[in-house]
């Protein structure tokens, strides 16, 4: 059992704040639905539960300001969900703001800073005003039940209107893991009236077999109260069904105080258990065991539940069964270790496969079959492990509705957001890296893309613009598109601006696509006035950089007058990628498959050297710069004549195409990406390294950097194809 007597709260706090972040995000998403008018009563309930959970944890850690605010918020939600208050637009607005303030309080608690005393006071005041104003008569009891420790007037015993309830509370083993502490519920029950507690410890295993996080106890309560049954049910609101079986029955007066006996069995059960439990209480300190002393004395109290011993296991099993989305929190480091380990396994497996390629099936049938199975399992294992890190992009998209709503109000525009593919999954790191670029792009679409309602009507479009945010899997990558039906990119203005900023020389002829890509150039911004929405000229190049950092590309397509579409294409995971193995002078390199457009052996008339440009390849009427990788990397013994080697046409993030001259293609394979800078340093033209089947290291080429290096190469040595041939 745990050896930490004075256990460290910080670990629980960290978990709490993690949960808070999720709850806040979830509340935000639901509130945004409510705000749009498409919310249901269940949505109100869901928000209520979010706020309640935040409050509950805050109470445990004594974050008083947070508890106070959450309490008022929760009360408001309770009034709304029970229909005692009306959900007007104003109220919906207030709720959204309330969630923000709640987030502020959570962050303040997390960072240990104090917010100004009046923080959120206006929201608080308005919230407090809602239930009172609309339904003054019924407000009181609602407030009372919502609070964990209501200022409950302890009922005088044997007063009029008091009833006696018998409550059986059978938690499943998993209840504690879901963050529900029975002690809190028991306290809450006790606050409702005169409570008698009886605990059933019969399922408590010996100390050696005990799982400290499982709840083995079940309870029978006898409660004398003036509240109705539903107030009692409220106490168990969060555990009922999923994690515990609750039965509440009203007892007839004559039953009360009458010894139902079981004197023979109950003490015996109590006798059998104490020895192991004593130790558990000492070393554990989970809070769960605190009710025990009270329970001991209650052994002789009325126990109407013969039901307890027998039906409990079956019921618990039944309750435990339908929990489909059981999940655990795992430290990301642990997952990463797993990912790395599987990466090693993939390499080892490839290595074994290569070693065995010399054996024939006839001579070593079992070995070959075993290796095939190993390869199969390894692949599956790798996919499962990658799936652990995968998350739906919903986490990313959920911020968008709010952003669009706030910005369109601010900018005096009307915009509708349509989202699709929110459940598309992608690696967590990719999601994290995407957050800022996506925000920028949505801002951009609203600020620069969409016209004002008047302008839209003038050109015959509906006053309300549409922004579409979509995600989908496409050939091993995730593609995220942000499309608006606004005015499109004003190419003339972009070009003027680019010339003005010295990004393009006057008189240079650029294709429409090239002009569109200029908006990603560092320091480029067409907004004539710098607004606080967008237009500091840092947006789009940062977008491109962030996306390139995770191995992605961004492309823009625009039709003047009809709108623009930004297409982000990203790898699903950062740890593994599909590559093409190429040979140059006896060295092997890996080209990312996603960059490759085609490969060919050019005919003599297709490859030529142009003055000032260097080697070029004519391909279907298009000129493509040819980069001899051997001279770029100083490799000897490579094929220098393009007509004898192979040209791999690759596309960079910017959409530029270049041809890379290599000796031959060795084949396509999945490679595990290994950092070069972990033990060394970055090398220009190389993005990372990988380990091949024979255990040797191969370098992964960075196509974007190679294109830039190629330009420098021709600048230095205009008459291309230098030395190297030996």
């Amino acid at each position: 059992m745990s050896d930490d007597q004075g256990y460290d709260l910080s670990q629980f706090k960290a978990t709490y704040f993690e949960e808070c972040a999720e709850l806040l995000a979830s509340a935000e998403e639901i509130l945004s639905r409510i705000h749009d008018g498409s919310g249901t009563v269940e949505d109100l309930n869901a928000v209520f539960r979010c706020v309640h959970s935040i409050k509950g944890g805050a109470g445990a850690f004594a974050f008083d300001e947070l508890v106070h605010f959450a309490h008022v918020f929760e009360t408001t939600m309770d009034a709304l969900r029970s229909g005692r208050a009306d959900l007007s637009t104003h109220v919906a607005d207030l709720l959204v703001r309330g969630n923000d303030v709640l987030g502020d309080f959570v962050r303040a608690a997390q960072e240990g800073v104090a917010l100004p005393a009046d923080h959120g006071a206006d929201v608080l005041a308005q919230m407090a005003a809602i239930p009172d104003g609309n339904a003054p008569a019924t407000t009181k009891p609602a407030t009372a039940t919502a609070a964990p420790k209501p200022a409950a007037e302890p009922p005088a015993p044997e007063d009029n209107g008091f009833k006696t309830y018998s409550i059986s509370f059978l938690p499943t083993l998993a209840m504690l893991r879901t963050g529900n502490d029975p002690l809190l519920m028991i306290r809450e029950l006790a606050a409702l009236g005169d409570l008698d507690v009886k605990v059933d410890r019969s399922k408590l295993p010996p100390l050696t077999e005990m799982d400290p996080q499982a709840s083995y106890l079940s309870w029978t309560f006898t409660l004398i109260t003036d509240r109705d049954k539903s107030s009692i049910a409220d106490v168990f609101e969060f555990v009922e069904g999923d994690t515990a079986t609750i039965t509440i029955t009203e007892l007839q007066p004559e039953v009360e105080g009458d010894g139902w006996g079981l004197f023979a069995t109950a003490p015996a059960a109590a006798e059998a258990a104490p020895a192991p439990t004593g130790g558990a209480v000492e070393g554990d300190g989970w809070g769960l065991f605190e009710p025990l002393p009270a329970a001991n004395t209650a052994a002789a109290a009325p126990q109407p539940a013969k039901a307890v011993p027998t039906p409990a296991p079956t019921q618990a099993a039944a309750a435990g069964g339908p929990v489909h989305t059981a999940s655990i929190r795992v430290d990301l480091d642990k997952v990463d270790r797993l990912v790395n380990m599987v990466g090693e396994l993939v390499i080892t497996q490839a290595m074994l496969g290569q070693q065995a390629s010399g054996f024939s099936v006839e001579s070593h049938p079992e070995l070959i079959q075993g290796l095939q199975e190993l390869s199969h399992h390894t692949r599956e294992l790798q996919e499962s492990v990658m799936a652990i890190r995968a998350q739906p992009v919903k986490a990313l998209f959920s911020k968008a509705p709010r952003l669009v709503r706030d910005l369109s109000t601010k900018l005096g525009k009307q915009a509708r957001l349509v989202m699709s593919g929110e459940n598309t999954e992608v690696d967590k790191t990719v999601i994290e890296q995407l957050s800022d670029p996506l925000t920028h792009l949505i801002r951009n679409a609203l600020d620069h893309g969409l016209e004002t309602p008047e302008e839209r009507i003038a050109v015959g479009k509906p006053a309300e613009g549409t922004i579409h945010l979509g995600a989908e899997h496409r050939s091993g990558r995730i593609v995220i598109e942000i499309t608006d039906d606004g005015r499109g990119i004003d190419r003339k203005r972009v070009l003027e601006k680019a010339i003005e900023k010295g990004l393009v020389e006057r008189g240079q002829s650029l294709s429409d696509e090239q002009i569109d890509m200029l908006i990603f150039a560092p320091g480029f911004s067409t907004a004539s006035a710098v607004s606080d929405v967008s237009g500091r000229g840092v947006g789009m190049d940062v977008v491109r950089k962030n996306i390139q950092d995770v191995g992605g590309r961004v492309v823009v397509q625009s039709t003047p007058g009809a709108g623009s579409r930004f297409i982000l294409s990203l790898p699903l995971t950062l740890a593994v990628m599909d590559g093409m193995l190429v040979a140059i002078g006896g060295h092997r390199y890996v080209l990312p498959l996603t960059n490759i457009v085609e490969s060919l052996r050019p005919a003599a008339h297709q490859a030529r050297t142009l003055v000032d440009v260097g080697d070029v390849l004519t391909l279907r009427g298009e000129y493509i710069r040819l980069i001899p990788l051997h001279s770029l990397f100083g490799i000897h013994n490579a094929i220098t004549d393009p007509t004898r080697g192979l040209v791999v046409v690759v596309e960079t993030e910017g959409g530029d195409r270049v041809g890379l001259l290599v000796d031959e293609l060795l084949g396509q394979q999945q490679v595990v990406i290994k950092s070069l800078d972990a033990n060394f340093r970055p090398v220009e033209g190389i993005s990372a390294a990988t380990i091949l089947g024979d255990g040797r290291v191969a370098l992964i080429l960075d196509v974007g950097a190679i294109r830039a290096m190629g330009e420098r190469l021709t600048a230095q040595e205009p008459c291309a194809t230098p030395t190297a041939a030996e």
């Binding site: 060394f680 090398v683 190389i686």
Partner: protein
């Protein structure tokens, strides 16, 4: 001679000594992770010739420095009998190619002599000191300054 070890005493350090040609060098034993036979490296483009490339050390990619080439400019004709000493420098793991491992030497800190100024030859600044062991002179390497330029070329490279 003077220093045939009083092990276990304070101020006593252990080195692994190795040979490059006729010269003997020492690396602090605490910096050494393992010693393995030479394996072919994967060359890196655009790096000095004494950087022999990178190898796969059980899944980690580590660079290998040819010490002979570093000191004399002459590449080692590496065979499987040559040795790569894997050392830790800061947070990095680096392989050092040498001819052969010679000995483990235990030296009192007081017996380590500074590198004489007049020996301001190419590699004097890579030495932490000199020590005489059984009549042989062993030059103790300062790994940090030896490998610094190779690992830090980053700034100019990335710029």
């Amino acid at each position: 001679m003077s220093a045939t070890t009083e092990a276990g005493q304070v101020g006593v350090r252990q080195f692994i000594s190795f040979k490059i040609g006729d010269e003997e060098y020492g690396i602090d034993i605490m910096a050494i992770r393992e010693i393995k036979g030479w394996t072919e490296t994967t060359e890196l483009p655009d790096t000095p010739q004494h950087l022999r490339g990178v190898i796969n050390l059980r899944g980690a990619i580590i660079p290998v420095v040819d010490l002979r080439a570093r000191f004399s400019g002459q590449l080692t004709q590496a065979t499987p009998r040559h040795v790569t000493i894997v050392v830790t420098v800061g947070a990095r793991i680096v392989g050092v190619l040498v001819d052969a491992v010679a000995d483990i030497i235990t030296v009192a800190a007081a017996d380590i002599q500074p590198v004489p100024d007049l020996d301001s030859g190419a590699h004097a600044r890579f030495l932490a000191g000199l020590v005489a062991v059984d009549g042989r002179m062993v030059a103790l390497l300062d790994l940090e300054s030896l490998l610094h330029s190779d690992l830090q070329a980053t700034a100019e490279m990335a710029a």
